[in-house]
Symmetry: C2
Subunit: 358 residues, 2 copies
């Protein structure tokens, strides 16, 4: 049976994925050298398409890693000498904080319970924090932080580096990269690709910080995928080590497809599908949206409390050919998570709602 | 035009690759959760097949990273408090040494010119070196170190951790994992897969070292893919972060294919094809093997000096549908590198030799 995956990543593959993969195989892209002109063209194309899609200016470079989790480490090693600051309201924002501690950074924490979100006005950032880690979409709880709040915070704390985790929402959030120094995502979420590639966007301010830290004997910015090395190779659209060439090619192709649709349309469709799901839950006596505040409700990962055992809902959906995500961790029993990525259409979301009604 | 890639990685895809990829797409493996039973079965299968193929005992775990280059960093962070020791005779063995320095380890160096190899008898390892980094196959120069020499060294320095770079030779070298503490490779070489997955084999001695270092405030073993976290997840065939699920599946399938052929046959064929290439060069007045000592000649990456410009040979081969590798770095003008991986058959090597004769 062929399923439709409404899981928050790995997720449903983008409808054009299989055709692009076939082209890549026909063109033997799995065998080409990562030091060839052909690869540099692929990197350049993906770079151009992502810039167009997400409005990334020339001040920022676009780099590839093995995963977004790897970026947590690269970012903390390269942009923090002593202190970082983290808004934490779920498992993934917490993992970034945990990484900072494992790397012996002094990590400041502003934490809220699962399901609650952050507004700019309530956030106080300690004086010596060098890097501010924000999460646009906390995948575990389905909570978003609005870009306008992120931008406000950066204006208030202009001297600090601001980084946005957009792992399970890119390219949806409309970030102003004249304010956001760094952002990152992985491809198995809203880009509808198999896992195995992380994307790290970082500006010259991040690079300068990394170059400064690199001169210190007292700490290391890492040897693999450190920012100065990534940046240097990026000047000729190369990578320090052999990257996931196929993944970079496929990402460029899917970004091109999304550009053809237009990012505004992609965003509107995302909001339309999210509205359908939240409205359905609000009008139902068997589901309720987990996140109370409407402004904090994620547009890309919809988390609902279930009246009965979540497992029953998931099983029923599966029998109809739809895989929905379980609640995260301890909330497995009483929650479901529905990914609302560009790979699933308004019609497919309607179908899912019909099945959930039964 | 469909080419045969004799490049030392990325390289020719293994003949069964496309069929396995199709199965993976049909089974929607690009969308499955890395926390699902299905993924754990995939990890278990790949683990079993690699163990059978490379004779890896239960004392060693098998972990996945984004690349083999990433493993250099993980290994040095997790297994070295102060000092490492490196046998260097080319660009890749040197990169590991460079990584050690970037991580502020005190890295001891025993270096030889490109094209020369190491024997056990000539190697003196400093007293305080904790980790010994050996390269089975130096891809840049086509030089191998024989496993028997590696085993001898370990017997002499039994208290030190021994690690083998088998990036461009695995599963060819017959390592005795009762002596070798750790080894690593990437999949775009002899396993005939697209790049984007590294494999790290490490034993309990490595784990114990990492656990000890993890308790120190004065250094970090890294936050992402550190050995204790990899090992903990490995107990249930999981990974700390979302891995390259598709790559792990495909690696297991190709390892299974190689097991069906039998590792002894794979090794014999490799040696047969290498013998054909070296004999041809020795009998030719236009090519000479770069590596003088027969015992140091790589079985998996054959490097030849060309009489005329290497570019001419490469162009002529390309017109016949064969892509051969250029010499590494400055040797681009006067050398060619021919990958001799299981993906190319005796017949294909014969064809290549015919073309090179012209």
């Amino acid at each position: 049976m062929k399923y439709t995956y409404f899981t928050p990543g790995p997720a449903e593959l983008y409808p054009t994925f299989a055709a692009h993969l076939q082209t890549a195989m026909d063109e033997q892209l799995g065998s080409i050298s990562h030091r060839s002109a052909r690869f540099r063209d692929i990197y350049r194309h993906t770079d151009e398409q992502l810039r167009a899609l997400m409005n990334i200016p020339a001040t920022h470079g676009i780099f590839f890693t093995g995963s977004a989790s790897e970026v947590w480490e690269r970012l903390l090693l390269n942009c923090v000498e002593h202190e970082s600051f983290h808004l934490v309201n779920g498992s993934f924002s917490r993992k970034c904080y945990d990484y900072a501690q494992a790397l012996h950074k002094f990590a400041h924490l502003h934490e809220k319970p699962l399901g609650e979100g952050f507004d700019a006005a309530e956030v106080e950032i300690p004086e010596y924090a060098e890097l501010v880690c924000l999460t646009h979409n906390e995948t575990s709880a389905g909570v978003q932080m609005r870009p306008t709040d992120m931008h406000k915070l950066k204006r208030k704390y202009a001297q600090k580096l601001f980084c946005v985790d957009m792992v399970s929402s890119a390219p949806y959030p409309d970030l102003d990269f004249s304010l956001i120094d760094s952002a990152y995502f992985s491809v198995q979420k809203a880009f509808g690709m198999p896992a195995g590639l992380g994307v790290w966007i970082a500006n010259q301010a991040c690079l300068e910080k990394a170059e400064r830290l690199q001169r210190y004997d007292s700490l290391t910015i890492g040897a693999h995928h450190n920012l100065p090395t990534l940046w240097k190779n990026y000047q000729t659209f190369e990578t320090p080590a052999t990257p996931n060439v196929l993944g970079i090619y496929l990402l460029g192709k899917i970004a091109e497809d999304l550009n053809r649709i237009g990012i505004e349309t992609v965003r509107k469709e995302t909001e339309e599908k999210a509205r359908m799901l939240y409205r359905f839950a609000e009008g139902s006596d068997r589901y309720t949206p987990f996140v109370q505040q409407e402004r904090h409700r994620s547009q890309t990962v919809v988390v609902l409390n279930t009246d009965g055992p979540a497992k029953g809902v998931m099983e029923a959906a599966k029998q109809q050919g739809m895989i929905i995500g379980s609640g995260y961790g301890k909330l497995k029993e009483t929650q479901i998570r529905i990914a609302n990525f560009p790979a699933v259409s308004v019609e497919q979301v309607s179908e899912l709602i019909k099945v959930m009604q039964k």
